[in-house]
């Protein structure tokens, strides 16, 4: 398939719909699986990797998984296209940076993605908009069952599904939600919340994983253990904590509106103003400002902006997306292009961009 068709669409998980979508951006479930007859990827020879890739690609194509899938040969993609897929959350950074035969099968809605030869031979992922962990789990179960009919997943009666890293063994399941928590950040309660999550063995990370600071107040919460509990229990473990976090964030937003109305309105308006007028702007700043505007829209402080637009801008202003959207003229820097793209998007904010009046 051609990636260009993806450039101009947005994934289902960015629609900004679904339950609690003012706070829950997306719900995701992934399963780690390996073929019993090949070494794990890090130990596999080039030939092993090629054989694994071919076997999985062909067998997956031979069964109905509920969706029509397109296959992308990641091993032969240019770096920018691999980064594009990472930004899109269709493949992981590890998968993008890996060596040898590998690929990803995705459906048109970008809900289902099957990574071949990531850390494990197969990583199945289902991502839904808003809070819909059970929907994502129900969908991934079907995909997993169908594939299991045509391959032998490495399995041990005591240890369950066998994975390259012992942290995934057993169910191989990772259940996560991506939350937008700007008010908890502004009111400085976020660290406290995270410490309590660590205590009940849930992991927290930023939008694009990767150590350090979460960009734009987006956080992923996921289960840390995969063995000793059923998949349903692990889905429920994450599902149980989400309403609590939603409640904290809502209260923090109410507090902000009630106690600092002027201040928060000012912050949000300034953020919106910068996005519409800046001449050069970094990725980090863009995410930070979009986060504030997103909250402003949800609090009714900014009209005429749609949540799905903001969600999609969060992805489209990432470096690889921007480069693909703007084409490669290579003259101006990313930050200038990003600012130009934003101004055009919020057209009218910049008087010089009013060339095409209707």
């Amino acid at each position: 398939m051609r990636l260009d068709t993806l450039t101009n669409s947005i994934g289902e998980w960015l629609r900004g719909t679904g339950p609690e979508s003012d706070i829950v951006m997306s719900s995701r479930v992934r399963l780690a699986r390996n073929l019993a007859q090949f070494p794990f990827v890090s130990r596999a020879t080039e030939q092993d990797r090629a054989d694994t890739e071919r076997m999985l690609r062909e067998r997956i194509a031979s069964v109905p998984v509920g969706r029509e899938l397109d296959y992308i040969d990641v091993g032969h993609l240019e770096e920018i296209d691999r980064r594009f897929l990472v930004e899109r959350q269709l493949i992981s950074r590890e998968h993008a940076d890996a060596q040898g035969a590998r690929g990803v099968a995705i459906d048109r809605l970008e809900q289902v993605s099957l990574m071949i030869n990531e850390e494990d031979h197969l990583r199945i992922q289902c991502m839904h908009s808003g809070l819909d962990l059970h929907g994502a789990w129900d969908q991934i179960k079907v995909v997993d069952d169908q594939i299991e009919k045509v391959v032998s997943y490495a399995f041990h009666p005591r240890w369950g599904y066998l994975t390259a890293c012992p942290t995934n063994v057993g169910t191989g399941i990772r259940v996560s939600v991506m939350l937008h928590l700007p008010a908890l950040v502004i009111t400085r309660q976020i660290d406290k919340v995270f410490r309590s999550l660590h205590k009940i063995s849930l992991a927290v990370r930023g939008l694009y994983g990767e150590g350090s600071q979460a960009m734009g107040d987006f956080y992923q919460i996921s289960n840390q253990t995969t063995l000793g509990r059923t998949e349903d229990e692990l889905v429920q473990q994450v599902a149980d904590v989400v309403p609590v976090l939603i409640d904290y964030e809502r209260r923090a937003r109410e507090f902000l509106v009630r106690e600092t109305q002027q201040n928060v309105h000012d912050q949000v308006s300034r953020a919106y103003g910068i996005l519409r007028t800046a001449q050069t702007i970094s990725n980090e700043e863009t995410m930070q400002l979009l986060s504030r505007v997103r909250m402003g829209v949800l609090l009714g402080l900014i009209g005429d902006v749609k949540i799905s637009d903001i969600n999609s801008l969060l992805i489209r202003t990432q470096p690889a997306h921007l480069q693909k959207l703007r084409g490669v003229d290579g003259e101006s820097s990313d930050d200038i292009e990003r600012a130009r793209y934003l101004r055009q998007h919020f057209e009218g904010g910049d008087s010089s961009a009013r060339a095409s009046a209707n």
Partner: protein
């Protein structure tokens, strides 16, 4: 005693990103699990402190308790590298052990934090058990199982290990070819084929199965 190094922080699956070095404010990028006689201790360090820590413990005198104190920058209570009752020799022996199928040594595993093949869970079961218990707080899978019935041989082979045996056979075949021992290579190849046929999926498979599938679709 041995240690397992998780040195890929980007797999935040393992630890949340909020984690800081235990010795300073930098982010912890090394997550070291120390195992001794079933006891587990975790150490989270930045790159610099991890290097110091690992050098200290690696270079330490196995029996000695009062040596190597000189360094003033020595961390508080961090370095108790070798456990009582286990010598460096024991560790060396364990490190040399390797998987019959993929050939990975225990040393390679604990350095990379990634296993070599599914059989490692059987080969190194005793060593992995305390580690897995520490990570998951459990040692028994209670979730879904493959719906397709897997043949379980009468001997000690459970789950899909019979199919995983192919990994060892493939290595053996390669070795035989490089020795120009074509007889052994052919035997290994035939064995691989027999196993593959026995495990071929019921319908979409390439080979005729003994257990007929009733899907008469022409």
């Amino acid at each position: 005693m041995w240690r397992l190094r998780w040195n890929r922080i980007d797999r935040a699956d393992v630890c949340g990103d909020a984690m800081k070095c235990q010795q300073c404010d930098n982010p912890a990028v090394f997550h070291i699990t120390e195992l001794e006689a079933g006891n587990v201790r975790e150490v989270h360090l930045c790159e610099d402190h991890a290097r110091t820590y690992l050098n200290q413990s690696e270079g330490a005198d196995p029996e000695g308790s009062s040596s190597a104190e000189g360094g003033s920058s020595k961390g508080s209570g961090l370095s108790t590298p070798l456990g009582v009752g286990q010598t460096a020799d024991d560790l060396a022996v364990l490190d040399q052990r390797c998987c019959d199928m993929c050939g990975i040594t225990f040393f390679e595993f604990r350095n990379q934090g990634r296993l070599g093949c599914p059989h490692d869970y059987i080969q190194f079961e005793a060593e992995l058990e305390p580690l897995i218990a520490n990570i998951h707080g459990a040692t028994e899978h209670t979730g879904r199982r493959p719906s397709r019935q897997v043949p379980i041989a009468a001997d000690e082979k459970f789950g899909t290990d019979g199919l995983t045996a192919i990994i060892g056979l493939r290595r053996g075949m390669k070795d035989a070819i490089s020795r120009e021992d074509y007889e052994s290579a052919k035997e290994a190849r035939d064995e691989i084929r027999a196993i593959e046929e026995a495990w071929a999926p019921p319908s979409g498979g390439a080979t005729g199965q003994s257990g007929g599938t009733g899907e008469g679709k022409a």
